[in-house]
């Protein structure tokens, strides 16, 4: 069967659930959000990613109604949200601190929002039990928040924010307080719950790995502006700027000058007029300063001179053994250090390279990307 891929952003007829149009937010002299426009579609798992202070939390708080835009428009399901108080929006938020009410039991925490809606007793009970089942916390219903673990608290917070079946769920660094292993498990749980409930999720995070794992699309933000909005794969493989390439994952950045422009760029770098070849990640003409971006795992390492379009020679400076892979830091004659990752596919293998070995690094002419500096 040829199932259609979930990609409403590519469909010109798709109606976005949230339209953020030219939103500007100022706090005094400081511009926290600088002319941001995004469309978020129903059932999307949308990630706002950026370093702290980039404005992602402010943007989320504007969606929740805790802040209002200084300029621009936010509409949800076609309705303008200006002046609509947080308690009037079909939006719920999961707070970074979880903000569980310490004087209420897990059960009452989840029931809190439903009771505000004036639902009758039986319907509240049925919905709470459904939510407890969803996050597998039936056994802990009577406990107080301080009597359960951090991971369980995170799930209570999720259940509470989902209980009212919001059109949009906002998650503010939802996994920030969990340790790494639990975080990875929870990421998949979160995706599973998102899929099952069909709710549109907007997650704020500074953890690029988390954003890449859970999101259908990622918006990379910097200093109040959107840098790139795209699927995780495109963000990783086709970053539109050095900032995005550098922020997401590991990357080698080699500075040079364009010697031949067009779609496939030839880049001159280093002292000895070495050439690198790669597709252009932006408009580049001859003579422009540009940066060659190449991911460490796309580089091959060999002792013999390889048959590849891009090849550079250098000396091994450092070797890092990470278990699943090994990292080599190779120093070029001009002092540039290029990082290369090799998977350790067999358990027993002799180490081919050692410190100070002269080696060749190579990659194909489509493996990297030439970005305007």
């Amino acid at each position: 069967m040829n199932e259609t891929v979930f990609a409403p952003w590519d469909d010109p007829d798709a109606v976005p659930l949230i339209k953020i149009e030219n939103v500007i937010k100022r706090f005094g002299d400081f511009t926290a959000i600088d002319d941001v426009s995004i469309d978020i579609f129903p059932r999307e798992f949308f990630a706002l990613l950026g370093p702290s202070g980039c404005g992602k939390t402010t943007l989320m708080r504007m969606l929740a109604g805790f802040e209002s835009p200084s300029q621009g428009r936010i509409s949800l399901d076609g309705a303008d949200m200006a002046g609509v108080a947080p308690n009037q929006r079909p939006v719920n938020m999961m707070f970074q601190s979880y903000a569980l009410f310490p004087h209420l039991s897990v059960w009452d925490n989840i029931a809190f929002g439903l009771r505000r809606d004036g639902l009758d007793r039986d319907r509240v009970a049925a919905r709470v039990d459904e939510m407890l089942k969803l996050v597998q916390l039936e056994r802990f219903a009577r406990r107080k928040p301080h009597q359960i673990s951090g991971g369980q608290r995170q799930r209570v917070a999720l259940a509470r924010s989902l209980a009212k079946a919001p059109k949009l769920l906002l998650l503010d660094e939802p996994l920030g307080a969990l340790d790494k292993k639990l975080r990875q498990e929870t990421q998949f749980e979160l995706m599973d719950i998102q899929e099952r409930t069909g709710t549109t999720f907007v997650i704020v995070t500074h953890d690029q790995e988390e954003a890449m794992t859970v999101a259908s699309r990622v918006a990379v933000m910097d200093a109040g502006q959107l840098v790139q909005v795209d699927t995780p794969q495109r963000i990783y493989e086709q970053p539109n700027s050095v900032y995005v390439a550098d922020f997401i994952g590991d990357v080698n950045l080699i500075e040079g000058r364009v010697t031949k422009g067009g779609d496939d760029v030839e880049l001159g770098w280093g002292d000895n007029d070495a050439r690198l070849f790669g597709p252009a990640g932006g408009h580049l003409a001859e003579g422009d300063a540009a940066t060659f971006a190449i991911r460490p795992e796309k580089i091959a390492i060999s002792r013999e001179k390889p048959e590849a379009k891009n090849r550079v020679q250098g000396k091994i400076l450092d070797i890092g053994y990470l278990g699943n892979l090994s990292t080599y830091h190779v120093e070029m004659p001009d002092g540039t250090v290029v990082k290369c990752e090799v998977g350790n596919r067999s358990r027993v293998s002799r180490r081919d390279f050692t410190w100070d070995d002269e080696v060749w690094l190579s990659w194909s002419d489509t493996a990297g990307l030439v970005l305007p500096s």
């Binding site: 929740a64 805790f66 108080a85 947080p86 308690n87 939006v91 719920n92 938020m93 707070f95 970074q96 601190s97 903000a99 009410f101 310490p102 004087h103 809190f112 929002g113 505000r116 809606d117 301080h146 509470r160 924010s161 009212k164």
Partner: protein, 324 residues
Amino acid sequence: MRRALPVATGGGSAPAPPGYFDQEEGGDRVKRVFTAVPYVWLLVLFLVPFGIVLKISVSDYAISIPPYAPTLDLAGGWSAIREYFAALDFENYVFLTEDDLYWKAYLSSLKIAFVSTVLTLIVGYPIAYGMARAPEAWRPALMMLVILPFWTSFLIRVYAWIGILANEGFLNQVLVGLGVVDSPLAIINTPVAVYIGIVYTYLPFMILPIYASLDRMDPSLLEAAEDLGCSRTTAFWKITVPLSRPGVIAGCFLVFIPAVGEVVIPYLLGGSDTLMIGKVLWEEFFSNRDWPVASAVATILLLILIIPIVLFQRHQQAQREAGQ
């Protein structure tokens, strides 16, 4: 018990340095001494004086120095001691039940303390709330303002209220001057003046614990409540009030317990209209010089106060356990 054996020093590798075990025993002793300090303190400064008061309360009034009988005469030997104990009785306690002044004074004290506590809560809660909501930079200054009155003598501050509340005092001058009232209000020497005095004096004891509990509250809880559909007012009653309850309870006890036995405020501001047990106690001791009856009054007052004190201790203990 292990004894430290004499170990030859300088003999290379001794298994334990000399005095090793002694040191440990010494450390234990130090620990025991430190634990004993509060108990000794309580014994000397609370239980012994209370024992004396209890003893005087079962003695008889006498025109002598000290003004009660009998006094223990150890030189008289065994028979003197027996005589001494035979002379003790509960006459004074019986007397307290016969004259209705006393139980009325106890009841009136409890009532005044209760009403004052409620009034202090009504005045104190908004102040504590305002402090907890004030910008971070202001809070130390506001805290200072709450504590500042303690830098002046309590007696002087209560005296100052006479100047404010008197018929020709500042308050009446202002009210008459503004034309709010035609003739000065009679506030001084009425229970109202006592309420004002108690609320004023004990306000910090109410504000500080409430402020502490409000300050500890995570502000995102209120946002979460709003996000889940609460109005600001509902969020206050559903979240802020229950979470500040420990502070409210602590504050109420801290006001109620000392207010029951309050002497200076009813004495200076309450006039002859206000009946409070502290004042009765004072008069028994210093006007009537009837130490035995005064001691009986004090003993009963303590027994009455033990109930709220124990409740307060329990509450504090429960809070500590919940916090862990």
